[in-house]
Symmetry: C2
Subunit: 199 residues, 2 copies
């Protein structure tokens, strides 16, 4: 069995996506051939080209954006004294969906990982320190993941900021909303107990 | 929360794929932004454009192809007297993978479905009859699906060919290889018993 070369190329290109193996990529490619109109193909092609042309990282916070600065950094009505530090620009999207936080962000683009050889100089900590020096932040909320890497990164940053006037906090970890204690893993239960609050 | 327009366009374009909902499309689009190099984007764009430019349906059998006729129809070493009739060009790919059948194919591009208003004139039965009239087929193997639509379509075609010299056969249905009878559905078990052969 063989596919025409154009189909093989599309299968290979689609396999780059996370969780897309050979079979899924084949299914998508054949669906493209069988069900996509010329207009559908034009739309997806122009979307990819727009990503390449229009999207970049905000030079201030590292958020993905098509404006300089991004819509968060340029919004003067937001609280200029609070910053949430995240590993990935996707985390900003999740947090903005909640529509409860109105401060600024900083994207590290990764986390410190000794096992993978990712050091502090490989993620955007330098940019973070510069912002904290020049802008009037009162609180930095560390919202890196609850992985080893995220914890190491949070520890590292909090130590760097010791002795400054900036309040450094860590987002709460615990049992998720609607979560069943029975099914929670040990670290989560430990964090939930450790982070207990008076009610 | 809002995405830059280019990302929204890509999310919408990717949602066209089967099984890709909003969340998956978001994940793919953000992966594109965060992890695809310019070259990766160029590759996927040129793959889509090649699909549009190079791929068409074989005018003889309806297979998806970039040559006229397709590599199967133009291969004179294949058995020109046997044809497998399938609903979809993807079925050809599956059958060719086995590398056991060396005859020709015909793609109906669908199946008769009274409930969805798809009649015999809406699928490529006309082309099938023309081929059977003009070419020297001795056997037509109906390999439409074991769905209601596939069965109706197979019945319909077999009735059209009554009184001709062409042997009309239907692929065997039964318990799949390695399949457990306990877990087979009733229709499959019925078909397996009905299709029993002397050993």
């Amino acid at each position: 069995m063989k596919y025409p070369e154009a189909i093989d190329s599309l299968i290979e290109a689609l396999r780059k996506y996370p969780g897309v193996g050979r079979k899924t990529a084949e299914r998508y490619a054949l669906y493209t051939v069988n069900r996509f109109s010329e207009e559908d193909i034009d739309n997806i092609v122009s979307a990819y080209l727009k990503i390449k042309e229009d999207i970049f990282k905000c030079p201030i916070c590292g958020n993905i954006t098509d404006t300089d600065p991004c819509y968060i950094c340029k919004d003067e009505s937001r609280d200029q004294s609070t910053m949430i530090v995240v590993e990935d620009a996707r985390d900003i999207i999740v947090m903005e969906k909640i529509n409860k936080y109105h401060g600024l962000y900083h994207v590290l683009n990764g986390a410190i990982s000794p096992s993978e050889g990712v050091g502090p100089e490989d993620i955007n900590i330098k940019g973070l320190l510069e912002r904290l020096k020049n802008e009037a932040f009162k609180e930095v909320i560390l919202a890196t993941n609850l992985s080893n890497e995220g914890e190491i990164t949070a520890q590292y940053i909090s130590r760097l900021l010791e002795g400054t006037n900036i309040l450094v906090t860590r987002i709460a970890h615990g049992i998720p909303a609607g979560g069943n204690i029975e099914y929670a893993d040990e670290i989560t239960i430990f964090k939930a107990i450790e982070g207990r609050r008076k009610i």
